[in-house]
């Protein structure tokens, strides 16, 4: 069996449209984040999350009503959801407040919520789990999450610049930043809470989305050695086509497992799996349409070797860059 055998698609022809499409999604994402904000999980926003297990079935409305009546400040900004195996009658309650962050007073808000439930007379319950996070932790996590992401991008840039050429490193890192922004946009569209697990998925994605990019770059590097008379444009297109089968299959297998996590991994991993699914799809798309496009734009469409034959390639859609045409391209470093 062989899919995408001897394909000859002109992927680079679509590079401007692809870049435009990405910008549209990113801008929509920025607007969504600007107007509605990124929903933050309790690790980042701070707050109290309780999972209470009731002896008998209890509806979310009953719990909410009990909180509205008895919880100081009412049930404002309170999230009430049933959770886990329905047979266990578990209800998750999230309030944005925590007790004071000095001494042992952090859990006082949890006690207030439980008192409110008790006064609501909706049946006996006990605490199955609690997650109480002060604001300090969230601030620190945010700064550490950002620095980890930035550092890993710099690390990948340096490694690729060392192994390939600087333009390749830039292409891969821009593609990864693109994937990050698109994923954040989708998280904002679908209102997933920004949690530690989601951050882990995002960081994993930064590593994974360079995978397909590297496979294509590797082929470009190899082809640059044999296709010396071809334009960079052609070399990149041929390389993408040659690796198309494996790009689709590798992303497909990774996507299968991410989907398995999404559908069967349980509620806690939902945000994680969603991030991975979006990340894998956008990572594959960006390897072809963003990373390679950036290398082609950076390097220009001139022939890789013979500057004199600059006019050979038939690429009317691609803008020409005369000043670059004159410059013989540096040969790719052999591995």
């Amino acid at each position: 069996m062989h899919i995408f055998k001897h394909t000859n698609y002109d992927f680079l022809r679509w590079r401007w449209q692809a870049i435009a499409l990405s910008w549209v999604i990113i801008i929509l994402g920025v607007i969504t984040i600007w107007t509605k904000g990124i929903p933050k999980g309790v690790e980042f926003a701070g707050g109290t999350v309780l999972i209470e297990r009731f002896d008998q079935a209890v509806s979310v409305q009953q719990v909410r009503a009990a909180l509205d009546r008895n919880y100081p400040g009412g049930g404002q900004n309170t999230v009430v959801q049933s959770t886990g195996d329905p047979a266990l009658h578990m209800v998750m309650i999230r309030v944005p407040q925590v007790g004071s962050e000095s001494g042992a007073a952090l859990s006082t808000e949890a006690a207030k919520v439980e008192a409110a439930l008790k006064n609501g007379n909706i049946g006996a319950f006990h605490r199955e789990s609690a997650e109480i996070v002060g604001a300090t932790v969230g601030r620190e996590l945010t700064s550490r999450g950002i620095s980890a992401t930035v550092l890993s991008l710099v690390g990948i840039l340096l490694y690729l610049a060392f192994r390939f050429q600087f333009s390749f490193g830039v292409g891969a890192v821009v593609a990864t930043i693109h994937d990050l922004l698109i994923t954040l946009a989708f998280l904002a569209f679908f209102r997933y809470d920004m949690s530690l697990n989601v951050i882990a998925a995002i960081l994993t994605m930064t590593g994974y989305s360079t995978n397909d990019t590297i496979v294509i770059f590797d082929r470009i590097r190899e082809n640059l050695r044999t296709m010396r008379r071809d334009s960079m444009y052609n070399v990149i297109n041929v390389s993408i086509n040659q690796t198309l089968g494996r790009t689709v299959i590798t992303s497909g297998t990774a996507l299968l497992t991410a989907l398995a996590l999404f559908f069967f991994g349980g509620e806690v991993l939902h945000g994680f799996a969603f991030t991975m699914v979006v990340g894998i799809i956008t990572g594959t798309y960006s390897s072809v349409f963003i990373a390679a496009a950036i290398v082609s734009l950076w390097r220009g469409d001139a022939p890789t070797r013979a500057a004199a034959h600059a006019h050979v390639m038939a690429t009317p859609a691609a803008p020409q860059q005369p000043q670059r045409k004159q410059k013989p391209q540096r040969k790719a470093r052999a591995s």
């Binding site: 297990r53 700064s143 590593g207 991994g265």
Partner: protein
């Protein structure tokens, strides 16, 4: 040929070793076998999010340690000035790192500087305009003291947790400035008791009462300043069982003995059969205590715990090594208090930043979903590889199983814990792991199309893809390393799983998979086709 034999031996050995370390204990435990102990001890541990337990993050107020040091140095300076006969109008410490001296007479300036030389080991002296000096704690001393306070706090918490009898607790420093302590107590569900025991400062001081008890601070002072070397400490009113009323004592600042002089503390009963804590002092502490009590017969001795007078019994005679703390305690309180006293005082106060309790049934739920997702993911991958690559797909599936066995084995060996994100990392490792096989197989297909022989194609396929694989894996390892650096708790479990998965994947896809191909081809003379 012998080359191939060695490769097979290596592959089989690796498989057997990792299977024994990683998979055997899990299977054995499932079927109720608990030997050999060598392997069972190393069995892969479950993280807190799967097992249930308490997860706490505390912040050590390292400021307290600086305050303590500054106060001690100030008292020492006061003594020094007194012995040298230098008089100053005011000696205060405006904050935790400064000492301010006012009104040094010009004639005594040289003598003052002489007296302050010892202080200058740890403090920088500011200019002495009009007989006023400001001493600032040196920055490196501040850093050292803060770091020391966190380490001491961690060690004290460790002792207390060990006294609690929790199995496999995890106590570690973390946070950007390293002043946070993470405490994980698997299997513990009584958060309140755990918090109480961990957080109580546990500072015991026995001090001679000069005046009191009185109903308010003002009635003790009658408008005057607190005399030098004295301090006012609040306490519970004497009546047992009524902790509501607060009374005040004026006591000598210097403690007769403190928690450091304790040898042991245990729960006991007082003469009214009320719960109390009996303590024994060290011989050095007993000597000091004997002197102080001998000189102060008839006066009151304040037993101060964490800055609050618990009781102030009258000294009837010279006491040396044994004493008792009474007050309105419950049985549970004296149990906790004696445990806290035994494990020593905390050097600084602590705040709770984060508190999680995970119930055991929630963890079981997570494990179930995680296992289902893993099995579904594995089946999807296996069926795809078999359908698409036919017999070579079998090779990939064997390599994949190998990968999982090595992953489990290595995790068990380094003592990594399996967390819920770790399971997710496990599932992803399978999905990303076959990537390498796909790359190699696609390359072999390409070479076969170029009309090369089967053997040559396989060699070329592995050879050409090798550096691609190295590049993709290194890039992934780079982001994995930063994920580990960033991560707390469960996320670290995820990063570790992914890291090990990447490394074992590199080994299986390149070495194991190639050996399998060579094995398949070795007993055929003429190889014309390859099922791929």
């Amino acid at each position: 040929m012998t080359n191939l034999r060695w490769k097979i031996v290596t592959v089989v050995t690796v498989f057997v070793v990792f299977f024994a370390v990683g998979v055997y204990p899990l299977l054995a435990a499932r079927f109720g076998v608990h030997s050999p102990a060598l392997l069972m001890d190393r069995a892969l541990k479950l993280g807190l999010d799967l097992k249930g337990g308490v997860h706490l993050v505390l912040h050590v107020q390292t400021e307290d340690a600086l305050r303590l040091e500054t106060d001690q140095e100030m008292e020492r300076l006061r003594q020094e000035l007194m012995t040298r006969g230098v008089t100053v109008t005011n000696l205060t410490s405006p904050d935790s790192t400064h000492i301010r001296v006012e009104g040094v007479a010009p004639a005594q300036d040289a003598a003052f500087r002489q007296a302050a030389t010892e202080l200058q080991a740890n403090f920088d002296r500011g200019s002495g305009v009009a007989g006023t000096y400001t001493f600032t704690m040196k920055p490196n001393i501040q850093v050292d003291l803060r770091a020391e306070a966190v380490v001491q706090a961690r060690q004290t918490i460790e002792r207390r947790v060990n006294e609690l009898g929790v199995t496999e607790p995890s106590i570690a420093q973390q946070g950007n400035s390293g002043d946070q302590i993470l405490v994980q107590l698997p299997g513990v569900t009584d958060v309140e008791r755990a918090k109480e025991i961990i957080q109580s400062t546990g500072l015991l001081e026995l001090k001679i009462v000069e005046q009191g008890p009185a109903a308010s601070q003002d009635s003790l002072l009658a408008g005057a300043q607190v005399p030098a070397g004295m301090e006012i400490v609040p306490g519970v009113s004497g009546t047992t069982g009524d902790p509501s009323g607060t009374v005040y004592y004026m006591v000598r600042k210097a403690a007769a003995v403190s928690g450091r002089d304790l040898r042991n503390a245990r729960a006991s009963l007082d003469e009214n059969n009320q719960p109390a804590v009996s303590f024994t002092l060290t011989s050095e502490g007993g000597r000091k205590f004997g002197n102080v009590t001998g000189q102060n017969i008839g006066r009151q001795l304040a037993i101060i715990l964490d800055g609050r007078v618990q009781s102030a019994p009258r000294i009837d005679g010279r006491i040396t090594t044994d004493g008792r703390i009474t007050g309105s305690f419950t049985q549970d309180e004296v149990q906790n208090l004696s445990l806290i006293l035994r494990s020593g005082a905390l050097p600084a106060r602590m705040d709770y930043l984060e508190e999680r309790t995970i119930g055991p049934s929630l963890g079981a739920d997570s494990i179930r979903s995680g296992v289902i997702a893993s099995v579904v993911g594995l089946l999807l991958i296996v069926s795809f590889m078999l359908v698409y690559y036919k017999l070579s797909g079998v090779n990939a599936v064997v390599a994949l199983l190998f990968n999982l066995v090595i992953l489990l084995g290595l995790m068990a060996y380094i003592g990594a814990v399996m967390t819920l994100p770790g399971i997710a990392g496990f599932v992803l490792t399978m999905g990303i792991g076959v990537d390498s096989n796909v790359l190699i197989f696609e390359r072999i297909k390409e070479e076969l199309e170029a009309q090369r022989g089967v053997r040559a194609s396989i060699n070329a396929g592995f050879g050409r893809v090798f550096w691609t694989l190295v590049d993709t894996h290194v890039a992934a390892l780079i982001s994995c390393a930063f994920l580990f650096q960033f991560g707390t708790g469960a996320i670290r479990g995820f990063a570790v799983t992914l890291f090990i998965g990447l490394i074992s994947n590199l080994f299986t896809s390149i070495f194991v998979s190639k050996t399998l191909f060579e094995m398949a081809l070795s007993n055929r003379q003429q190889v014309a086709t390859l099922s791929i």
